[in-house]
Amino acid sequence: MLAPVRDPMTPTPARIRKVRRETSDTFTVHLDVDGRDGGFRFAPGQFNMLYVFGVGEVPISISGDPGAPSELVHTIRAVGTVTRAIQKQRKASVLGVRGPFGQGWPLDKAKGGDLLLVAGGLGLAPLRPAVYHVLEHREDFRDVSLLVGARTPEDLLFRSELSRWQRKGRIQVLVTVDRATPDWKGPIGVVPPLLREARFEPGRTLAFACGPEVMLRFTEHELSRLGLGADQLYFSLERNMKCAVGFCGHCQLGPAFLCKDGPVLRYDRVRPFFLTREA
């Protein structure tokens, strides 16, 4: 006998409580999750499939606080048909949600050691729940550094939070931009060189990184130079995704299905494929 099942491909409606503009192309939606017992529980790094009625569905990582499951928060860049359709939605509009899916950041494994969080651009969104977790459980970790890169200061996500995390959360926050504006006083350039300024002891450190793959490559290179092994490095990766439940085959990277084995993967699991062009 095959067990009876609920259809994992069916979205549940969720009403938009609030939309917040983050940058010129990026915004955050807060969704009501009234129908769920105990709210929307998820692990930092997990994602949902968001559906716009009749338009389509996209995988979007959760950017909210895992300790506040009464709402579901997603930070989205409008780059395609579905994400632009989500951008047009207003308060009280309804989106479809399937999730949460995938494996998140291994915060349990990071306990008792130093933690490096490395974000490029929108890559900060899936890392923000991990930051919230650290703030809530700060005593579980030794040195924690958050390294953030953005194209310009205007493209920096969660800017007011970054300074708050630094001030109140005892998190070393290092921010760089590719192109400065006149008011920018911080570093200019790519993220990986910032790692040299981060406080950590390689032997007791885990690094979590999310961003463009070229940035991840150089992050890996720099961390390896600084003494981190491939098994101390976790990437959140992106591929095409249609189902999020391991059926559709689109999100494969070598041995991994990013939907169920990822999106957060230990680097040594996918290294040959990650380093191969178009793998």
Binding site: E57, N240, C248, G254, T276, E278
Partner: protein, 375 residues
């Protein structure tokens, strides 16, 4: 009849057996000749079987040929496996309606017919088990696949001949049917046209009991075993799989990929005829009013550009990358993902490749020049 006892079945007896299975409420799906090929379709009895037909298969070649006997299963494999019966090529996943400022989803409630597969070969039964690992045995279960798969009755056939592109012996998936069947036939063509039938399940025994058959004698059993042994010793292809995952993972930039890609047309035939390929895409649509939406699932292939599209472009934009993804996944990373190869040695991808790319040759070429980087 019980256990692995074997009985003898005449051609007429096979006809009666098929009708007995039908009377149990199963729809018969079996081999039949259509459009110059042996396809799997609904059949009403032995009259629909491809009597006296065989085929010639080589890389890029498939031709039906007349046999000089009336064998009912005297061919090796048609273009179709059984995949489309369970993992259907196009289906609606749900309908949704706008209602009171939100929407309501009506999930599909599949009520598929109960199927009896007639003439399933060992490699194809292995392929079904391989697909079960994707759709039934992971964290999530595909409800449509589960409904269609449940309770399927299998009348298997031990292959009486190997096709020109077969390599089940290398993949340890045949030609003898060893599991996942209710009844298994071996067709005997020496002397009287007859079948040795083996019972694989309680259900199979019950159906067979209605026919009052004679047990097969030692001679018939020996002849049946010899038929399968002869098939096993005449495989069209060999495929060395020792250490294949490591071999391919360390040769992702081997020049042989360029050679294959020079010939590959990225047509996706191999993925469509493959009995284990499971990639699917979804399409979201609305009616003209915009008040009703549907989601459809359809077969996809890793050979399409859309398959790897993320905003900004396709990850695998070159044919070489897509061809490499297909082959490395099929015979190597599949093992990491599902604990089994994605290849069952049916040879369909070789036969139906319009340019005759042969994965056994391609991997052998990489193996022969392991570690080579420059052309």
């Amino acid at each position: 009849m019980s256990g692995h006892e074997r009985a003898i079945l005449s051609v007429e007896g096979l006809g009666s057996l098929l009708q007995a299975i039908r009377q149990e409420g199963y729809q018969l799906v079996g081999p039949t000749v259509r459009d110059g090929a042996i396809v799997h379709a609904e059949i009403s009895g032995i009259g629909d079987l491809p009597a006296g037909w065989t085929e010639e298969q080589e890389a890029g070649t498939y031709r039906l040929r007349r046999r000089d006997d009336g064998a009912l299963f005297g061919y090796s494999l048609g273009p179709q496996s059984w995949k489309q019966l369970f993992f259907v090529p196009r289906m609606r996943l749900f309908q949704a309606r706008r209602k009171d400022g939100t929407f309501v989803v009506d999930a599909e409630a599949p009520k598929p017919p109960r199927l009896a597969l007639i003439g399933a070969r060992s490699c194809d039964l292995h392929a079904i088990e391989v697909q079960d690992r994707t759709f039934l045995k992971g964290q999530f279960v595909d409800p449509d696949y589960a409904a269609r798969r449940e309770g399927v009755f299998v009348v298997a056939v031990n292959c009486g001949q190997a096709g020109g592109t077969c390599f089940c012996v290398s993949m340890k998936t045949g030609p003898r049917v060893t599991q996942w069947f209710d009844l298994a036939l071996t067709e005997l063509l020496d002397g009287a046209h007859r079948f040795v039938v083996e019972v694989g399940s309680e259900r199979g025994a019950e159906v067979l009991a209605k026919l009052a058959l004679q047990p097969a004698d030692e001679g018939d059993c020996r002849t049946a075993d010899e038929v399968v042994e002869r098939t096993a010793s005449s495989m069209g292809r060999k495929f060395e799989t020792e250490g294949i995952t490591e071999l391919l993972y360390r040769n992702l930039e081997h020049p042989q990929w360029d050679k294959g890609a020079e010939r590959c047309t990225s047509c996706a035939n191999c993925t469509l005829v493959c009995p284990t390929c499971f990639c699917a895409s979804v399409e979201d649509v609305t009616d003209l009013s915009g008040n009703t939406a549907e989601r459809w699932r359809r077969w996809d292939s890793c050979f399409t550009l859309d398959h790897s599209y993320v905003h900004g472009g396709s990850v695998r934009s070159a044919t070489r990358s897509r061809y490499r993804q297909w082959l490395v996944h099929k015979v190597a990373s599949w093992i990491d993902q599902f604990g089994t190869s994605g290849c069952v040695g049916c040879g369909r991808c070789i036969t139906w490749c319009p340019v005759g790319i042969d994965l056994t040759e391609e991997v052998a070429a990489i193996r022969a020049t392991d570690g080579k980087k420059e052309p």
